[in-house]
């Protein structure tokens, strides 16, 4: 599987594990938006640490994904953009317009901060910490 989508409390954690071509990226976009609807997630973390290129198409796909998620009531944060990739995105002239965070933990912390008050369930970050440490 190239992409995994896990549920973590009120949030979805989507990890891209390998380079995706355009078609696969669009399918991922569609799958994730569908899952936001069915799971009523309040936020999504998209982990792109495995991507070694984020070109204009991939950036657009992520941006569109974030907008679709917002229409469905979920906040989006992209995590794990590699240093070289970050610089290439900027040089390319892309403005990602999505909140970004260093890693999964920071991404979840961001989601908790922006969705606090809306959420019924427990802390996803707490749950993650419980698993990790």
């Amino acid at each position: 599987m190239f992409v995994s989508i896990l549920r973590q409390g009120d949030f979805l954690i989507a990890s891209i594990h390998t380079a995706l071509d355009d078609t696969e990226l669009l399918r991922f976009q569609e799958d994730l938006v569908t899952q936001i609807g069915t799971s009523r997630a309040q936020g999504i973390v998209i982990d792109v640490a495995a991507l070694d290129v984020l070109d204009s198409f991939a950036s657009s796909a992520l941006r569109d994904l974030a907008q679709m998620a917002r229409l469905r009531g979920a906040a989006t944060v992209i995590v794990g953009i590699q240093p070289d990739v970050a610089f290439a995105i900027v040089r390319l002239g892309m403005e990602l317009d999505i909140h970004t965070a260093l890693g999964l933990e920071e991404g979840l912390a961001y989601l908790e901060s922006v969705t606090s008050g809306n959420r019924a369930g427990g802390s996803a970050l707490g749950a993650l910490r419980g698993v990790d440490r």
């Binding site: 380079a19 995706l20 071509d21 355009d22 078609t23 696969e24 070694d52 290129v53 984020l54 070109d55 204009s56 198409f57 950036s59 657009s60 590699q82 240093p83 070289d84 990739v85 610089f87 290439a88 995105i89 040089r91 390319l92 002239g93 892309m94």
Partner: protein, 359 residues
């Protein structure tokens, strides 16, 4: 010959569509002066332009015009040969040329002999490294460690050795060059070393020397040029974009680029490969190690026979888009690379040539 002199004075360059239009006019004059049939002229002009574009990123600006002229002449000559044979065999029901296939074993022996002699012309060190890489499959990194050098320097050396081998091989199959200038000129063309071409005035020599004019063509032959320091990927579907950018990155790393620069190159490759898939449906991307004097770089050429771009200026403006993308493909790639040339002929196709130099 006089037609060629004109070119040099014009200092023909392929810097944009204007340069190409000028050159196309020149090529047309050269061909039309030798061939009667209007269709044949069109065919030869097109083929010349195609070959010119394929070789242009390896040519010094002043050598582009002369190369166009000698290529056109070569094509005219081969056209005559074909027409001649065609006429003589026109009455036959089958083409006998296929039946009298040359003795393949003999051909192979001759070629092997030529390669051996050509190898002998390399210095022991060049030969050693080249063989270790090509025959024994050693990668540039391990060779660099052993030679106390860098992968980039080794890649550049391999590229030079290969260029030399190509020249010596062709000379071996032909005859010794008529002038002392020939070998260095052919070598500079083969290596795509623009600075050296300019120093040697390779363009002038090509026009004056029939020997080098004839050899310049196989020198740029795609098969002869294909080498491990060259990536060539046919681009047709989405997945090809991923393949070509990954291989482009590998080549850039092999040529000694930092990971950050290799990522920029891979991103630019991704953008122009996507343009092929979107607009032309089918095309080809090549990535090669480029040298210019002491500088090492990577050159990316994306070629398609698609509809072409009517307004290049506009296509290079950020935000200009025709397929609902973000219009960053071309202008973004230009920013990611150091050199960027786009030549497009509406109805014929587009060629993007871009180079990034190592710092």
């Amino acid at each position: 010959m006089s037609a060629g002199r004109e070119v040099i004075d014009q200092d023909a360059r392929l810097d944009g569509s204007d340069g190409l239009a000028e050159l196309t006019g020149l090529i047309r004059r050269v061909v039309a002066g030798r061939v009667d049939s209007r269709e044949a002229v069109d065919d030869i002009v097109q083929e010349t332009v195609a070959r010119l574009l394929a070789a242009s990123h390896r040519l010094d600006g002043r050598a582009v015009g002369p190369y166009a002229v000698v290529t056109a002449r070569n094509l005219v000559a081969s056209q005559w040969r074909r027409a001649d044979t065609g006429m003589r065999h026109a009455h036959r029901l089958f083409d006998p040329r296929a039946a009298v296939a040359p003795d393949e074993a003999l051909l192979e022996r001759e070629e092997a002999e030529a390669i051996r002699s050509a190898l002998d012309r390399l210095s022991p060190r060049e030969r050693e490294v080249l063989l270790a890489h090509e025959v024994h499959g050693r990668d540039t990194r391990s060779l660099a460690d052993e030679l106390h050098s860098t992968p980039g320097a080794v890649a550049a050396q391999l590229s030079r050795s290969r260029a030399k081998l190509r020249v010596e091989y062709l000379i071996e199959l032909d005859r010794e060059p008529p002038t002392g200038q020939c070998r260095p000129v052919l070598l500079s063309l083969s290596a795509g070393d623009k600075r050296r071409q300019s120093e040697l005035d390779a363009g002038y020599h090509l026009l004056d020397c029939g020997y080098c004019a004839a050899l310049s063509e196989p020198l740029f032959d795609r098969r002869a040029a294909a080498a491990p320091d060259e990536v060539r990927v046919a681009v047709e579907v989405d997945a090809d974009i991923v393949v070509v950018r990954q291989r482009g990155r590998d080549l850039a790393m092999q040529a000694g680029f930092s990971a950050a620069e290799a990522t920029m190159i891979a991103t630019a490759v991704s953008e122009i490969a996507r343009n092929i898939v979107r607009f032309a449906r089918r095309g080809e991307v090549t990535v090669t190690v480029a040298t210019d004097g002491d500088a090492t770089g990577v050159t990316v050429v994306a070629r398609d026979a698609g509809p072409g771009i009517p307004d290049i200026e506009r296509a290079l403006e950020p935000g200009f888009t025709t397929y609902g993308g973000r219009g960053l493909g071309l202008p973004g790639s230009r920013r990611l690379m150091d050199e960027f040339v786009i030549v497009s002929d509406v109805g014929r196709g587009t060629t993007v040539t871009m180079t990034k130099w190592r710092r």
